[in-house]
C-alpha cells in the first residue's frame, strides 16, 4: 500500500489521537500542580504506575475488571496525593525550583524502587478488552478507544470543574495569587492538598488506562514523564488546556514519524519538539501559566 493513501493517513491520525489522549490526561495533571503551586512533580508518572499496579493487583488477586477498578483506584490515588501534599510537598511550596525538583525526584526514586522490590522488573499486562472495531476502512483498537474516551472525558470534566465549580474557582485563585486568595478567606493549604489529590487521581486514572493498552513495569514512568514535560512545554507550562492540545499533538506526531520513518525515531519526536519549543518559544504555543 502506498504511504500517502488517504485511508492510511486517516488511520494514522486516529491512532495518534487515541495514543495522545492518555498523554494528555497525564500531562494535564502535571500541569495543574505546576500551575497552582509552581512545583514540577517529577514523581507524576510514578503516581500513574501506582494506579496501574493497584489495578493489576485488584485484577490478579480479586479478578476485578480494570474498568471497575477505576472506581477504586481514583479515590485511592486522590487520598494518597492529598496526604502526600500535606505531609511532604507542602513544605517546599514557594521555596524555589531546586528544592521542589529534588524533593519530587527523591519521591520518584522511592516509588520506582519500592515497585521493583515488590513486583520485580518484569512487564505486566492485563489481557482484558481486546480486538478492534472496523469503521469504514480503518481499524480502531477497542481498549485504546475506551481509554481515550475516558481520558478525554476526565480531562474535559476537570477543566469544566476548574472553570465553573466554586472549588475549582478557589483553586484558580490560589494559582493566580496565593496571598490575595488567602486574604479572601480561601484555605490555601487545603486547596493545594485538593489540587495534588486531583492531579494524583488523574494520574491514577491514566494508570488504569495504561493497563488496558500497554505492558508496564515499575520503570515505565521515565518515558512518560519526559513526554509529559515535552507536552506541557508545547502547550505552555501551567496552562491546563494547553496540555490537552499538546498531548494530542504529540500522539499524532509520534504515530506519523513511526509510520513514515521508523518506530525508533518516534521516540525522539518528543525530545526534539521539547528542545525546539524551549529555544524558540519557551512559554509554549498557548502561552504559559494560565491554569485554565
Amino acid at each position: 500500500m502506498h504511504l500517502l493513501e488517504p485511508v492510511l493517513l486517516l488511520q494514522f491520525l486516529v491512532s495518534g489521537l487515541l495514543a495522545g489522549a492518555l498523554y494528555a490526561l497525564l500531562a494535564c495533571g502535571l500541569n495543574l500542580v505546576f500551575g497552582v503551586m509552581r512545583v514540577i512533580n517529577l514523581a507524576h508518572a510514578e503516581l500513574m504506575l501506582a494506579g496501574a499496579f493497584l489495578t493489576y493487583v485488584l485484577y490478579a488477586w480479586a479478578g476485578i475488571h480494570p474498568l471497575l477498578a477505576f472506581f477504586l483506584v481514583l479515590p485511592a490515588l486522590f487520598g494518597a496525593g492529598f496526604y502526600l501534599q500535606r505531609l511532604v510537598v507542602e513544605r517546599v511550596v514557594g521555596k524555589g525550583e531546586l528544592q521542589s525538583l529534588l524533593l519530587t525526584y527523591g519521591l520518584s526514586i522511592i516509588l520506582i524502587n519500592t515497585g521493583l522490590l515488590i513486583f520485580a522488573s518484569d512487564f505486566k499486562a492485563i489481557p482484558e478488552l481486546q480486538g478492534a472495531l472496523i469503521v469504514g476502512d480503518i481499524a480502531i483498537s477497542k481498549p485504546r478507544t475506551a481509554a481515550a474516551l475516558l481520558a478525554i472525558a476526565l480531562t474535559l470534566g476537570v477543566y469544566h470543574f476548574l472553570k465553573h465549580a466554586r472549588l475549582g474557582k478557589a483553586i484558580r485563585a490560589v494559582a493566580e495569587h496565593p496571598d490575595v486568595a488567602m486574604l479572601c478567606g480561601i484555605d490555601v493549604v487545603r486547596m493545594r492538598m485538593f489540587t495534588f489529590g486531583l492531579a494524583a487521581a488523574m494520574a491514577g486514572a491514566a494508570g488504569v488506562m495504561l493497563t488496558m493498552i500497554y505492558s508496564f513495569s515499575p520503570e515505565t514512568g521515565a518515558d512518560f514523564i519526559l513526554k509529559c514535560f515535552a507536552i506541557i512545554i508545547i502547550g505552555g507550562m501551567g496552562n491546563f488546556i494547553g496540555a490537552l492540545y499538546g498531548g494530542l499533538l504529540l500522539g499524532v506526531a509520534e504515530i506519523f514519524v513511526a509510520g513514515f520513518v521508523s518506530s525508533q525515531w518516534a521516540e525522539a519526536v518528543a525530545y526534539v519538539l521539547l528542545i525546539l519549543i524551549l529555544l524558540i518559544r519557551p512559554t509554549g504555543l498557548k502561552g504559559a501559566a494560565d491554569v485554565t
Partner: protein, 312 residues
Amino acid sequence: MSLKSIAPGIVLALLAVAAPAMASDYQLLFLLQLLMMIALAQSWNLISGMTGYVSLGHTAFFGVGAYAGALLLQWGFPWWLAIFKGAGIALLVAAPLGVLTLRLRGPYFAIAMLGLNEIGRLVATLWVDLTQGGDGIPLSPARLPTLLQNYYTMLTLAVLATSLIAWVRYNRLGLELRAIREDEEAAEMVGVNTTRNKVIAFALSAVIPGAAGAVYAFYTSYIDPVSVFAPALNIQMIVMVLLGGSGTVWGPVIGAVLVRTLHELTWAQFPALHLALLGVLIVAIVLFLPKGILSLAPWRRRVRPDRAPGSP
C-alpha cells in the same frame, strides 16, 4: 585561602597517591569509582551548586566523552590523547548548548537538560554506523591503559575538579555565580555579565565529565548508550553534592565518600533497596538539611554573619 584550609586536601591527595601500594585490585577499583564520582559531583557543583541552575542531564557530557574516548581509542589514538580529545569534544558540544539552554530559567533549563541527555542516548542508539547502536562498543584489551594508569588519571581529574571549585569559589567568578543564584536580575543590575559567566561555568562543568567518561570507557572496557547516558549517575551526583553541601568545596567530597560507601554496602545484595534509600536520603536532605552536612559543622556557624543571633 590559607594553608590551613588546603592542608586537609593535600593530605587526602597524598593518601590517594599512595593508596595503590597497599590496596588490592578490588579496593583500587572502589577508589577509582569514588574518585570518578568526586570529579562528576564537583562538575555538577560548579554549574548547579554555584548558580542554582539545576542540570538534570549532566550525564550527556559523560556519555559524549565516553563515546569519543572509546571511538578514538579504536581508531588508533593513544589512550591519554583519547581522554584529552574526549574532554575537548565534550567542551565543544557544551559551549554552544550552554549559550542556547542557559537563556532558559529555572525549571525550563532543568527540563531542557533532561531532554538533552535523552537525545544523546537516542543518537548513540540510532547512529549505528558510528556507535554500533544498542549493542555497544567493546574495547580490545590490548590498547587499554592499565588499572593503575586509569586510577591516577581519575585521581588527577578529581583533584582538578576540586581545585577548580576551590579556585572559582574564592575569586570574582564564584562571587558572581553565587550572585546569580541568589537573584539573577539584581546581579545583572549591578553589572554582572550573567550570560557570559553562566556559559563559562557550564562549559567548565562539562570538560571534567567528558574526560571522566573516557576513563570510564577504558576501565570498564565496554560502553553502551544506557550505561553512559545514565540518569542514575546523574542522581548520584546530585545526592552527593546536596548531602555534603552545594556550592562548597568539601561538601561534594564528603557526600561522595558517604554515598559510595553506602553503595558498596548495599548495592550487591539489594540494588532496588539501595536506590530507594538514596531516594529517602534526597527527600530527607531537602526537608531537614537543605544546606548539607557541612552546615552542621560548628566552626562554620561562627563565621557566617547570616547565622548571627538576631538576624532573620
